[in-house]
Symmetry: C2
Subunit: 215 residues, 2 copies
């Protein structure tokens, strides 16, 4: 039924719907029309209906969408009804910050281990997790059914680690390093290139200043 290939443009919008529906649900709102949701989220009602219909009809004519039901369904589509074990590779500032961030747990993402090759850092505790040496990476992944590896280390290291990961049973890499990784198709990669994001911001600051200067 839901076999058509869904475009990544649609996928990228799902978490935002999920966020808004969660807030509506918490406020006790029971139902919402695409029209009302559209003015709340500043997107067109048409897009909302198209997006939801990629996954089958979640609404009801004349009524709209049941907030709580829709929230749950989108959660399922996003796979948030499952548990995912993850490890963090690179226990520097960013790695430790992500390790300490508890909200991922709420969504079913469970931190199982952290790795680093700096003797200074190995053995340190982040919550109840000990930072382990890189040698133990592969065996730990196998033994603990790890799905996701979070890469928070410098460029060169990231490329190398990605190659090691490609040989394990890992399913996905959440990549914070400033490189594009080259891994088999079976491993999903999601990049968070913070400096790219900052550069976009920088561009837009400049653009706005120029526009003002001109008009």
């Amino acid at each position: 039924m839901e076999e058509r290939e869904i475009s990544q443009a649609v996928i990228s919008r799902l978490p935002r719907y999920f966020r808004y529906l969660g807030e509506l649900r918490d406020e006790g709102v029971e139902r919402i029309s695409s029209q009302d949701l559209s003015s709340l989220m500043h997107v067109t009602a048409s897009q909302i209906r198209q997006d939801f219909n990629n996954f089958g009809g979640f609404g009801q004519q004349g009524y709209g969408y049941n907030v709580s039901y829709l929230y749950d369904e989108i959660g399922k589509i996003l796979g948030l009804d499952r548990k995912h074990n993850f490890v963090i590779i690179g226990a520097g500032n960013l790695g430790r910050a992500l390790g300490n961030y508890m909200n991922f747990e709420r969504r079913g993402f469970i931190l199982r281990g952290m790795f680093d090759n700096d003797p200074e850092v190995i053995g340190r505790r982040v919550r109840e997790i000990n930072v382990m040496p890189m040698e133990e990476l592969e065996s730990f992944i196998e033994d603990n059914e790890i799905d996701i590896a979070v890469l928070t280390l410098p460029k060169a290291g990231a490329r190398h680690v990605a190659e090691r990961l490609a040989k394990t049973g890992i399913r996905a890499i959440w990549n914070f390093a400033h490189v594009d990784l080259n891994v088999p198709e079976s491993i999903q990669v999601e990049n968070v290139h913070l400096s790219d994001s900052l550069m976009k911001l920088s561009y837009n600051i400049n653009r706005y200043m120029k526009e003002q200067g001109k008009t």
Copy 2:
């Protein structure tokens, strides 16, 4: 000359070009054709030429593009030839991690201050910066020509702080909080919604598993 409105799709690709060109330059590569760059970056040569031509002709027929020149030009387009002072609001794990990250400085983004309202955290040092109380935010922004505010605090706080920021001379917000901010057009907002990114990853893991199960 470069007055046409450039689409955000193009802008989003610029940092990636910049990254590849920087690496080529560091490797001593002097020139590159759109064809060669295209196979390196796994995009079409046509797209590369279209993208660059949004900003005027950077290449030369029969020759290609001068790597170092193109790198500099894209840097300028992104506004990386200027200095931007920034503050971090929310000195939790993520805020401190970003504060400690030195690479932003290399691109002209200079950390000037950090703020929090938790007495536990106020006064702590991150590099040479003292975490200040929230009361001092507005005056500090005025006195130190702050361009960018990085928001690394919980939802509710973020919305409130964004309102306060809207009344200052700030130019941009780099928003790590899981809310959409409502600020005047004159303030550029770039969102880094980490949990959205993680959900996308989760979706793609699931999708791949389903595809495998079927075929």
